[in-house]
Every structure is written in structure tokens, then in C-alpha cells.
């Protein structure tokens, strides 16, 4: 079974994000970029499937500018076998990503596609679902546990509002990861060195026959309003009063 993992290059989670002066987006020049943490979890899961004898090959796919290759290298250093880079400088939105991934899936024919449940930059939480729809595959989102069964199905435990839900899904499957699925490993030194020698295939949206042009237009990006200082209440009674009459939450 081939496993395809999508990896997105995003602003590193440690960076304090700043809005650009002209309000068109967030500042990304000279900002540390890393793999989307949910995608790291995806790579880890795929590599574990391979180590556990369930997967034969792990392919890491990234879409975007040249620097996305660094993100693919990170996945290769964690244990993915090869990479695919769809090169484009166009702003990519979830639908375009889903279409591009579909084209790659058609080409590679994996049985399992793992995506993060969302990317920490735009928090869209759409791509996996769209991809499943475009492929007409099963989908299992917000996975916190994955078991591949011998009979062409997989049991996926999902984190839902009420707790945990376990579903059985037919392969081929699109799965999106949640935080508790696993704890991604550190890339080992030998694997970092090996990653350099693993192949990364270069593709373009044109070659895949996909028009990635954005459909949504960002009007304005602004900083969230500053939080106002809190007040100290003198008694429980006062707290209850404020909650009831000022905040109107009880």
C-alpha cells in the first residue's frame, strides 16, 4: 500500500506573527518557516505504517514555491521515501490544493492519503474533506488513532465534541490528523543525510492540468484587538453579579 502525505510549509509555530503594514496579509519575509505541525503528525503516522509493514512506500507532497522542497526534505529525513513538489508561486487556496492533490493521487494511486486537519496559518480545515469529495473516497477527519485492517478497511478514532468516535472506513481513504494521533519523531542524523539523496519529482499545475488561481479574495488582514486589563472582584457575589448582568453569560 502506497501512502501519500501532504506537507505544507507554514510560518513556524514559535514565530509571533505580524500583520503586514498594508493589511494584505501576514509578514513572511525573513520569518522562520517550518512544516505544518499537523502534517508532521501525518508524516510520522505514515512512516510508522511503513515500519509496521502496513505501507510499502511513503510519498511526501508539497505545493507552492521552491522553498517547499525544504519541507519535503524534512519529511524525507523523518522517513518518507520520496517527494513530489508541485511548483507554483500562485497563492494556493484549499480548493486548488485539493484539485492538485487529486491530480497527484490519480497519478500515484495510493490507498491512503494523509493530511493535517488544518494548517496553522489559515486554519481552513477544508482541504482533506474537499479532496475526499473530489476523489469520491471515504474520509476520516480529526484522527487520533488509525488501525489498518486486513480486509481493505481502516478503523479510525476521531476526536469529536462529545469525546471519541471510532469509525470503520473503506480504503482508499483520506484521513486528516489531529494532535493526539502520535508524537512526531526527531529526524535522525543518518536520515537527514539520506534525505538529500532521495528523489523529489518536480511537477507544475499546468502539467497536472489544474488551474490553481484563487477563488477567494482577501479584503483585509488586521491584528486581533488588544485584550483589556481585567478587574479584580471583591467577592463571589460580585463575580456572580457581573457574570449575570455585565457579561450576561449566566
Amino acid at each position: 500500500m502506497k501512502v501519500l502525505v501532504a506537507v505544507k510549509r507554514v510560518v513556524d509555530f514559535n514565530v509571533k506573527v505580524r500583520v503586514k503594514a498594508d493589511g494584505t496579509g501576514v509578514e513572511t519575509a525573513n520569518v522562520k518557516m517550518s512544516m505544518n505541525p499537523f502534517d508532521e503528525i501525518g508524516v510520522e503516522e505514515a512512516v510508522r505504517l511503513k515500519e509496521g509493514g502496513k505501507a510499502t512506500e511513503v510519498i511526501a507532497v508539497s505545493l507552492g514555491p521552491t522553498q517547499c522542497q525544504e519541507t519535503i526534505r524534512t519529511a524525507l529525513a523523518m522517513g518518507a521515501d520520496r517527494g513530489i513538489h508541485v511548483q507554483t508561486d500562485v497563492e494556493l487556496q484549499p480548493l486548488a490544493v485539493a484539485k492538485l492533490l487529486k491530480a497527484v493521487v490519480d497519478k500515484e494511486q495510493p490507498q491512503l492519503c494523509i493530511l493535517g486537519k488544518q494548517a496553522i496559518d489559515d486554519d481552513a480545515n477544508q482541504t482533506g474533506q474537499m479532496l475526499a469529495a473530489l476523489l469520491s473516497w471515504s474520509q476520516a477527519t480529526f484522527a487520533s488513532k488509525l488501525v489498518i485492517n486486513g480486509d481493505g478497511t481502516a478503523n479510525v478514532t476521531r476526536e469529536v465534541d462529545g469525546g471519541l468516535e471510532t469509525i470503520q472506513a473503506k480504503l482508499p481513504l483520506v484521513m486528516t490528523t489531529d494532535l493526539r494521533l502520535n508524537e512526531p519523531r526527531y529526524a535522525s542524523l543518518p536520515n537527514i543525510m539520506k534525505a538529500k539523496k532521495k528523489p523529489i519529482e518536480q511537477l507544475t499545475p499546468e502539467a497536472l492540468g489544474v488551474d490553481p488561481a484563487p477563488r477567494l479574495k482577501t479584503l483585509k488582514v488586521v491584528e486581533p484587538p488588544k485584550r483589556k486589563a481585567g478587574v479584580k472582584v471583591k467577592s463571589v457575589a460580585e463575580l456572580v453579579d457581573k457574570l449575570r448582568n455585565e457579561a450576561k453569560v449566566i
Binding site: A29, N30, T74, A77, Y186, A187, S188, N191, I192, M193
Partner: protein, 594 residues
Amino acid sequence: MPTYTAPLDDMRFVLFELLGADKLAELPGFGDATQDVVEAVLEEAGKFAANELQPINHSGDEEGCHYENGTVTTPKGFKEAYAKFIEGGWTGLPCDPEFGGQGLPKVVNFAVEEMICSANLSFGMYPGLSNGAYNALALHGTSEQKATYLPKLVAGTWSGTMCLTEPHCGTDLGLIKTRAEPDADGSYKITGTKIFISAGEHDLTDNIVHLVLARLPDAPAGIRGISLFVCPKFIPNTSGEAGPRNAVRCGSIEHKMGIKASATCVMNFDGATAWLVGQPNKGMSAMFTMMNAARLAVGMQGLGIAEAAYQGAVMYAKDRLQMRALSGAKFPDKPADPIIVHPDVRRMLLTMRALTEGCRAVSYWVGMELDISRHHPDEKRRQEADDLVALLTPVVKAFLTDHGFHAANLGVQVFGGHGYIREWGMEQLVRDARITQIYEGTNGIQGLDLVGRKLSLGMGRLLRRFFHPVGAYLEAAAEKPEMVEFALPSMKAFAKLQQATAWLAQAGLKNPEEAGAAATDYLRLFALVALAYMWCRMAEIALRKQAGEKAPFYEAKLVCARFFMTRLLPETNTLFATLTSGSQTLMALPAEAF
């Protein structure tokens, strides 16, 4: 509690913009060490240091190592962290691929060591000592010894030690008493007591490989009668795994000022089986070839501590509100200004930073030359590099560790009273840093090595490897108007160093005591000139790039360069004055008058 973020931007700057480390990949054997690979390695090492090693630094200090009945337990979390460390293959970074290593350049290992030591100096001792043992065996072991020990040391499943010190001798190893009696089968039986043996006993690995200095029965007295032996805790069996227990045991561990999570052991050898490494009676020279590497590694410990102290201090200085800026409130909406507005706090922060960044540049430069000395195809270039490394090794060891301690102290000062309180973690850095000035040859001994050995080697050949390029560079730099503010003070300091060297040569001829009296000041003067040279070159790059994308980085470099030139480099004047005052005042008082 201070957090740590690996200073990857500065490391990249020093490696690739200042030193041209991307060229290392062109050297035979370093084909894999391309810039992208090195950057990926540093990034991952930085993550490991920050996320796995730093979190157990303070707890390791509080808990310390425990001794019971010959066994030593490391503090909570060390075993797990070490297991992850070797699983990641980090122990093999600079080692020969023939034995399972990655064969990456030493300078890359320097950077990784710096990060490990910033995060957790005690932890770094265990792989550090193993690397020392690896070097000794790789350079002097028989092919059988190499095949037995090196793959295990590279994999980190076995660790190493260096057993030199005895109760009555540390600096003067000629006094060593530990004996080695030959056995019929070609092995030896070692008997004696070694003290202060780092990583002598612990619970991290399956076996411990001791490299021991001892005396053969017919050995001449003194330093020329010392031989080197390999003495494993468990004797390897025919399949190469740890076999029968050897008669070397840990008698106790020391209770000490710092690096409390590093076991410092009394090791008793009671007829322990061992094998000769290298030639009989040539143990000291065998030891010295690896000791140079170890001294540089201790220098990196100093640098690591300094960086950690700086990061802690900066975080606190931006956060702690106390008094108003002298020029008027800078944060009127807050009850007081953060202490980073105060000139004296800035003096401390900038002193830490300018010296730390300067030390990083000098030590990585030496690391690069170390790689060139081993891998360059041109013999002449190899020799030049080797000379420079030999010359600057004592400078790196002593100056970086002095700086580490000094920076840790400044870190405490920036924290005020909270710096003195254990839970903030700043006083630990002071205690941990203190040992680096003592082991691997005290810093006083480093001064003697520089003045007594390195200056005179090859009629000053080593010195010329430094003086010529530095002199030529500074002269050329002084011609460029924008470089004058950096080149001029550096030239003055360099002239002082040249004068001091000439003075030393003359005075030392008349009275050997003069060299000893001048050594420590001379080494410091030397180091400051080496830093000045590096700061000039860094400033030159920053001037060129300050208008570009990463302007704030280069602007900060220039500010630090100016701070170094105007506020730190003038110390060279004092050093010159004190050292040329001669030994007279030092030697005048008879011992009984003290």
C-alpha cells in the same frame, strides 16, 4: 526558568557568510556536507537540545547523580534522553563512516556541541567523553581494538572515559602511580586509583570503555614512562558484546559545585584486564593528540554556557519592570520601565553578546581549520591549518571558558536577587561553567602551553600563521574608509600583541619565570586580538548587507562590533601593561610570607 533557542541565524552567518563552510563539501570525504544538509543537521540538533536536553537541566542539577554499592544512577530523564540521543545517531556525527559514523566536519560538531552545552552541560559530558575515547582509539588503537570498540562508541551503546587524574596528581601527570603488569596472553593487569573520572560509572550504556594512563614495570620515571591502556568495564566476548565484569569499580562519586548530573567518579582498578594502546611509554603523546580535540570541546562548553546565560538575561531584562529610564519613561503605560532601558544593564547584555558572538566566530574558524588540516588535498595547506589549530587551541580553551563563567556571572547580575535563587536557573550556569576553567588542563596551564610551547614551535612558525594573515587583512581593511572604525583599534591591539610577543621572547631568554608570569595575560591579549580580527571581518560583511533583506541582523552585528572595539578591546592596553611589568612583583615575596 530560562528557555533556550539555538542561535541558528548566527551559526549560519558564521559558518556560511564569514567562514565559507559551504566549501567544505568540496574537500575529499566531505561530499555530503553541503550547506543544505548542514543547516538541516543544525536545525534538528537545535530542536533536540531545546526540547529534550534543556528541560532536564535544572532537575538534573537539583537531583544529581546517586551512588550505591558501586553503581551510579543518573537523574530522572537522563536515560530516556540519552536513548533518544543515540537513536538519533548524534554520537556518530564527526566519526568515521567505516565505523558507522556520519563523517561530518568537526566544525559542524562544534556547533552541535555548543547547543548541547547551552541546553545541558552535564548531559554533554557523557557523549563528550565517549568522543575523546573514540579519538584516542581511532588515532592509536590497533585495527582489532578499533573493530571492537569504535562501532560501539559511535553508536553510543558503549561510552568512554579518560582516566588520567590521581589523588596526588592532576596537572603533573608524570607523578602517575597506577601500574600495569604484563600478562602472558599479551594483555595487562592494571592496579591503582583514579579520581575525578567523568562518566566513570553510570546507567546510560551497556558498557564503559576506560582509557587509562598507567606505568609499565620497567618504565622510566616521570612523564616519559606513561603508557595508555584500554580497559573496558565488561570485557568484550567473542561476539563483540559486553562479556565478563572486569575488576574496575567505582568507589564513590564526588559531591561538587556544578555539573551535578555528570558523575565524577573515583575508579579503583584491582588488577583489571587492559590492553596497550599505541607504543609503550608513549602514552602522554598519544593522549595529547586527542587532548587537543578535547580542549577545543571544552571551549565549546564555555561558549554554550555563555549563550544560555545571554538568552536568559535578555528575556528577563525585557520583562522585569524596575525604575524609569534616565531620559524619561519609555513605557509610560506600565508601572515602571523594563530594565533593558538602563545603560548598565545594556553594558552587561552587550558584553555577553559581543564576546559570545566573537568567541563563536573564532572557535568555528578553528574548527574549520581542523577539518582542512585533515581533509585538504594540498599538504602545505594541511600543515598551515594544523599549525593554526595548534596555536589557537589553548586560546579557545581558556578564553571561551573564562568568558562562559564571566557571562554566567553577568547573567546572574542582570537577574538581580532572582539570579541568586535556584529556581531561576541562572546560578546553575555559574556553577556549571566553573569546572570548564579547570579540567582538560587548567586555564593557567593553557597559558603556559601557548607561551611555553606553541610560540616557540618551529621558530615561531605557528605564530606566523596567525600574524601574517591578520596583519595583511587589517592593513587592507584600514584603507577602506567605512572600515576604519573597526580596523584601526584592531591594528592598535594587534601591535600590542606583537610588542608583547617580542618582549616575552627577550625577557623569557633572561629569566624563564617571565614567561610563566605573563602567560595568562598574554593568552587573553591574544584572544582579544583574534576576536577583533573576526569582528572586523564580520563588520565588513554586515556593512555590505545592512541595506538588504535581513537588515536588523546586520545592523545588530555592526552595533556589537562597535561595542567590542570601543568598550572591550581596550582591555588589551591593560593586559599589555600588566604583562610587561614582569615577574618581579610576583616572585618577590618568599613563600613563608604568604
